[in-house]
Each structure stands twice: as structure tokens, then as C-alpha cells.
């Protein structure tokens, strides 16, 4: 038995495939026999803005679409600054963090009105904030699988690799197989497995 609900907060920048990752997680959970509730904050559906999605997995009672502040079981960040931002709102000491290590710079930082924190400082900061964190070269792993756009499936694989969810990776695999068009299946499955191995090896 797991402590329900499992609260997953996924964050990133528009265009990174955050919503699709949330859908893969939600579909996999339902296929595995669990209930889910999710909510998406997509900005203006444009690239460049912050995008956050909540997925909650449970089986005994129904839950709403939003995770209460401070109660994320896991934060999955597709972008280091956004990981940090969401962690302050939704994290606690016990939150598990999985973050891509590749920055995407806000316009304000590019225009030198703001400064983007050193990625190494973000990493150290997060390591001090929570008990367990994983920094993943997700964009590079995705490029290995065929395209850096598949970083979302690398990150989904990382989540599966933590063993935090009460169902196995076969449910993710069958969901990816079902959701993606034929020519993109193999690539996304490969990206998923690369992410899975990254975290699974560290957890075991």
C-alpha cells in the first residue's frame, strides 16, 4: 500500500512537452488500475512561458486536480530554474526532485535585466533543500535517442525509475506505444529507457 495521493508536479517551459509527459503518466496510472486527477497551467499555449502540470495518483478516495502547496511527492523539472521555482511553492524536505540540467533563459535574463543563477548553484541549492534529487542531462540523452525534443520521455523514464509509483514500467511502455504515432514510437521508448536507467541505477 502506498500513501495516497501521490502528488506529481511537472514543470518546465512551453514547448518542452510537459503536458504530454503528464498525459503519459496519467494514462499509465489508469491502465494500471489507479485513479488520477490532473490539472494543467499552460500559460498562453506559447513557447517561452512557464508551464506546470499536476498529476495525482490514488485509489481510495477522489482528489481534485491541484496539489496543495508544500505537498508534492515528486517534482519533475524540465528546466532547472523552473524546478527551483516550483519547489519553493510545492516542495517540502521529503519531496523527491528530478530535474533536467539544461537551462532555457528567460528574456529578462537574456536582456541582462535579471541574472540566471549558475546551474551548479541551483543544483547545490536543491540538494540542500530536499533529501533526494536527481539531475539528468535529459536533452542530451534525448538527442542520443534521436531528438532533443524527446527530453520529456527521458524525464518520464526517470520518474518510473524512482520506483515511487505503485506500478511498473511496462504500463508506461504500453502507453507510449499507444499514444505516439508509429514513426515516433521507437524513439520515445528509447528516450524513456535511457531516463529509466539513469535513475534506476542510482536508486537500486
Amino acid at each position: 500500500m502506498f500513501q495516497e495521493p501521490i502528488n506529481i508536479v511537472i514543470t518546465g517551459v512551453g514547448g518542452q512537452g510537459n503536458v504530454l509527459a503528464a498525459q503519459v503518466i496519467a494514462v499509465s496510472a489508469v491502465e494500471a488500475g489507479y485513479l488520477v486527477s490532473s490539472g494543467e497551467t499552460s500559460g498562453l499555449a506559447q513557447r517561452g512561458g512557464p508551464v506546470m502540470t499536476h498529476v495525482r495518483v490514488f485509489c481510495r478516495q477522489n482528489y481534485g486536480p491541484l496539489v496543495p502547496h508544500g505537498r508534492a511527492t515528486v517534482v519533475i523539472g524540465f528546466e532547472p530554474l523552473e524546478t527551483m521555482r516550483v519547489l519553493f511553492d510545492y516542495g517540502n524536505r521529503g519531496t523527491v526532485v528530478i530535474s533536467n540540467d539544461r537551462p532555457s533563459y528567460p528574456l529578462g535574463c537574456l536582456q541582462c535585466e535579471d541574472s540566471y543563477p549558475e546551474v551548479s548553484l541551483i543544483k547545490d541549492g536543491i540538494k540542500n533543500m530536499v533529501q533526494q534529487s536527481f539531475f539528468i542531462p535529459a536533452s542530451e540523452l534525448a538527442a542520443q535517442a534521436g531528438t532533443s525534443l524527446a527530453a520529456n520521455m527521458v524525464m518520464t523514464g526517470c520518474l518510473a525509475g524512482t520506483g515511487l509509483l505503485p506500478f511498473g514500467k511496462e504500463f508506461f511502455r504500453s502507453t507510449i506505444d499507444k499514444l505516439f504515432p508509429n514513426k515516433l514510437k521507437e524513439l520515445n521508448l528509447k528516450a524513456f529507457e535511457l531516463g529509466f536507467d539513469q535513475v534506476f541505477q542510482q536508486v537500486v
Binding site: 517551459v13 514547448g15 503536458v19 503528464a22 498525459q23 496519467a26 494514462v27 496510472a29 489508469v30 491502465e31 485513479l35 488520477v36 486527477s37 490532473s38 490539472g39 494543467e40 499552460s42 500559460g43 498562453l44 499555449a45 506559447q46 513557447r47 517561452g48 512561458g49 512557464p50 498529476v55 477522489n62 482528489y63 481534485g64 486536480p65 491541484l66 496543495p68 502547496h69 508544500g70 505537498r71 530554474l81 527551483m84 521555482r85 519547489l87 519553493f88 511553492d89 516542495g91 517540502n92 524536505r93 532555457s104 533563459y105 528567460p106 528574456l107 529578462g108 535574463c109 537574456l110 536582456q111 541582462c112 535579471d114 543563477p117 533543500m129 530536499v130 532533443s148 499507444k178 499514444l179
Partner: protein
Amino acid sequence: MTIMGVCLDKPGARVPLTGNEAVARGALEAGVAFVASYPGSPTAEVPGTLARIAQQFDLYVEWSSNEKVAMEGAAAASFAGLRSLAVMKVDGLNVAMDFASALSISGCRGGMVIMVGDDPGSHSSIREEDSRNICKVLHFPVLEPSTVQMAKDLTLAAFNLSESLGVPVVLRCVSRICHGNGAVLLGEIPRQERKASFPQTERMIAFSIQRHALQEEKLAAAARWAEDCSFNRYEEPQDAEKLVISSGPSAFYAREGLQILGLEGSIGVLELASVWPLPHKLLLKHLKHASEVVFAEDVEPFLEDNVMALAALHWHDVGPIKFYGKRSGHVAGPDGPGIGELNPEIMAASLARIFHVSYQRPKIEGGENLPSRELALCPGCPHRASMWAIKTALELDGREGILLGDIGCFCLGIGRTGYYLLQTLHCMGGGIGLASGMGQLSRFGLTQPVVTVLGDSTFFHAALPGLINAHYHHADMLCVLLDNGTTAMTGHQPHPGCELTALGEPADTVPLEGMLNGMGIPYSLGDPYNVEETINIICRLLQEEGTRVLILRRTCALLAVKGKTKNRVYVDPQKCIGDECGCSRFCSRVFSCPANIWDEENGRAKIDETLCNGCGVCADLCPKKAIIVERTV
């Protein structure tokens, strides 16, 4: 999430669906035949999903030119005895309101549901309007789901209710429902022959006082239905003295807030799915026992106002009650009561204040000084190039030209990504009407040139009357039509200027140039990626008089690169001389494309090749010609 789930003919199966897919499924289970909509977030995926399966289920689905036309089309199908669905965001309901207010008087025949998407918190809208107040004015019954499952079930219920009352029923869904995911228990999809017919004895007319009386009778019948509506739900305890009244996902935020505070079980939660008209008897039954009542709802205090009015009318029965909500200021997020979206955090904090219990959430301290992230036009977006050309031309012109905005991706021109150029932003087609008026003001001493921007989809949606008015009255204004060949912001739906319809069938395309020719309005044509030429055209047009149009045509960058190998764009580190150049880092600091970044280590410009869509506009603008474009074609 899964189109297979929407189509699955397996009653009793549980499948993962998004809220929008659940509404689509509910419409299928209701035997819908006709679906019409203009794309708007958060509802665009409802017609999108139904269009994809239209052939399989013998549906007609269209992206109408605007929401009023969509509602009229769906009403026509209903008049002919079919079940029909009109889908729009609340902004679209504003557009359709004139027809809607007459439709609620004339009534309908076949079950007709109007799905309205509200966007508390303005996640993908320019405002967070609450459609319930509008629907009350319109005399439409309103149902609101709190889960994805209920979105499916209430859609079906709404069709049945509409058909039995003879009036359209509104299904109000907030973004959290539309874009949420959930496990949905499927019902049966009927397979019956549908035959459209509007017998001459049937008259759907919105004229006469008697019809008004009938309209009120229908609402009274809807209120009776609401009393026994099984989707209205009350949770323990019996005869609660403390009560939360709620609807939609807010009910979950309230329940979770109570749970966090350890108050669950001691405070009752009444969740209403029938939000208008309200079930008076049900409410009075609970109000009689209550001495304290809290309201949890997005956005306006709608239940709050109407329940308080009910309690005032029945004060002798219900006795003194303290009401807590947005009016009293007790239920409030960081921006104040009635502003922004509710969430479990806000409800927990509000309930703690109201019931005098302590609340401390788990927290990691800090986070105040993180750099913010503004919205940005996509890398390669032709609108950025257009905005740059307009900005430059207005500067060269030197008369402080006014730029009036409209709805579309380019409305981001109010911010950094569009150089803060837009001085107004209101609604679809609003810019052109403003320009038509502003273009008359030289007689009162206005010396600034007047320019407005709008998109191709908006042009068909709401710009024509304004443009015709401007031309007819010889308004001095330049209308820049940013034609990217699609309705980009909501996910690339087709419009009347496109070659295919929602069903993927060949359309009788309406050409922009042909329309302008027909109206006798002079127009020029440009390519926004050719910035220099575009600047020259705009400068020339600014000198001319009367109403003139410039069409800047270039396919949306996201569509243009779809399935293709992108051009490679990179910086030649020999040619870029960094801060010595004197360009003030034009590409990364001024042009504002997220793909133009700065290589701190080497003090040179750099392209983020993952983000870059290969338009090459920055290469043309770089003063040192240090950006290289390798074209794939």
C-alpha cells in the same frame, strides 16, 4: 489523451480521458449530430476530437467563422430536431450573446448543449470572466462538473434536460476540468438513424411577451429538475451547523482544505452541479440547520450572491446565518477576494481563518528573488519580424504612430517579446473598430498615424464590420493583417481562408485579397521575414490617406517546421565580435527571440539550436552578418 477511449464501444469500461474528451464522449453518448465552434482555450479540443471521429459516428463538425455563427448553426440543427453542441470559451459567449438572448426565448427542439469554457486565473485568456452571471442574464440553465467523469455524465444529462425543457442548457467547464485527466466509466453510444426535419407547423420565434412568460416557466422547470439532480452531492455530517457550498473543482479544494485542517466530518460540504437555477428546497433544507456558511467557487461570488438572496427571502425559516466568502473577504487568494483561481492552499488558509484553527503548511523557505519568466513569441514566429518592422517604421516615420492591438498570438506585443508596442488590447476585432474611430480624429488635432494589427482568423471572425465602417467613412488608418494561415494560438485550427475544413474536406476558400478587392480597399502584400522591404512598405503606407491594408503573409513557424528538417542557424565566432561590436547584443538583448542566447564563456552571441526554428531573420538583422543560415531546401 486517448481518442481510442472516446470511441470505445464498451459500456462499463474505465478509460483515461481529458475533460474535453469526456465532454466529446458525453455528446456521443447523447447521440449528438451537429457540432459547431470557434476555437478558444480551454475548449478547443472538444470539437477537435469530435472532428477526428466524425466519419465513424456520422457527425457534422465545423469550425465556424465565429461563436455567434456557431451557436446559430447548432440552433438550426436543434430546430430541425437533431441534437447539437455549440462549444466556445466565455469570450465567445459574449460574441454570441445577441443570438443567445433570443434563443433562450424562442427555445429549441432537439437537445442543444452550449459548452462554455471559463478560465479562472486567465491561464490562456486575457480575462477571467465568469459565464454563470451571463447565463443568468440569458435565462439559460447551467450545469457544472467537478470531475472529468462528471464532465461526461453531465454532458449527457444536459442534452436530456435541454430536450425535455425545450431550451439550450449550458455546460460550464473551467480550465481545470477541460485540461484535466481522469479515469472515466463509459456509457453506451446509441446508434440510431437521425433525420433532420423542420415542419412548417414548428415556429421558433423570439418575439412576444407570452414567449417571455414561457421562458420563465422553463427556468422554473429546470429548478424543479435541479431539486432531484443526482449530481448535487452532500457529504456528512447530518444537519450540519457549519456548511461549505461549492461547485466545480472548488468543491475538492474545500474538501482537501478541511482534510488538511482536520475538520473533515465536522463541516458539511454541499456540492452543486446545477448552478443555475438553484435548487431552492435543497438549499433551504441545509440552510435551516446552518449558522455558518462558507462559499467556495471560481471566479465571481455567484453562488454566494444568489444563496444569500434566497436566505434573505426565507429569513424567517432559516434564522441568522453568518456567510463567509468573497463578499465578506474571507475566501481570498493573494490578489484579493474574487480575483484569480482558487486552489487547495487558498481554501485551507481561508477555512483556517474562518473557523479559528491554526494552519501551517510544509514549506521550504526562500524563492522570492528568482528571475521571472515572461511569455515569448515562439522562435521563428513571423509576428516577431512583423512587430520589429512596424516598430522600426514607426520610429523612422517619427510622428509617434499609435498601434492598436487585437486578439491572437501577436497580442504578446503588449510585452517584451513584442517590444511593448501595443497600446490597446480588448477583444476579437476590437483593434479595427478602435482604429476606425481613431482614424477620424485628425479633425480634432490628432497628428499621429493610426495602425492596427490583427490576424487572419480574427479577420473572418470579427473584423469585417469595423473595416467596412472605416473604409466607408474614409478613416485614416493602416490595418496590418498578420496572415499566418491558421488559428495558431489555440492549436492550428482552420478558418475560412484555409483550404480544408474541420472535417479535412476541401473548402470553398475565401481569399483575403478577393474580399478587399470587392470592398474597394487598397492593399499591399509583404513577407515579414523580408524585414527591410516590409519596413519600406509600412513607411510608404504611413504617408497615405484613408483606410488601407497591408497583408504580411508567412506560415506560422510551428506549422512550417512540422515534420521537416529545420534550417540550421549558428553564429560564426570569427565574425561576431561580442560586446566590442556596439550593437548592444542586438540578437539576444534587443530582438528578443528565445533562441538568440549569449555565450558567457566566450563573450559571443550564440544560437540555441534546439529552440531555433531556422527563420533566419536575426541573420538578416545582425550588423556584422555573423549569423549563418544553412538552408535545408
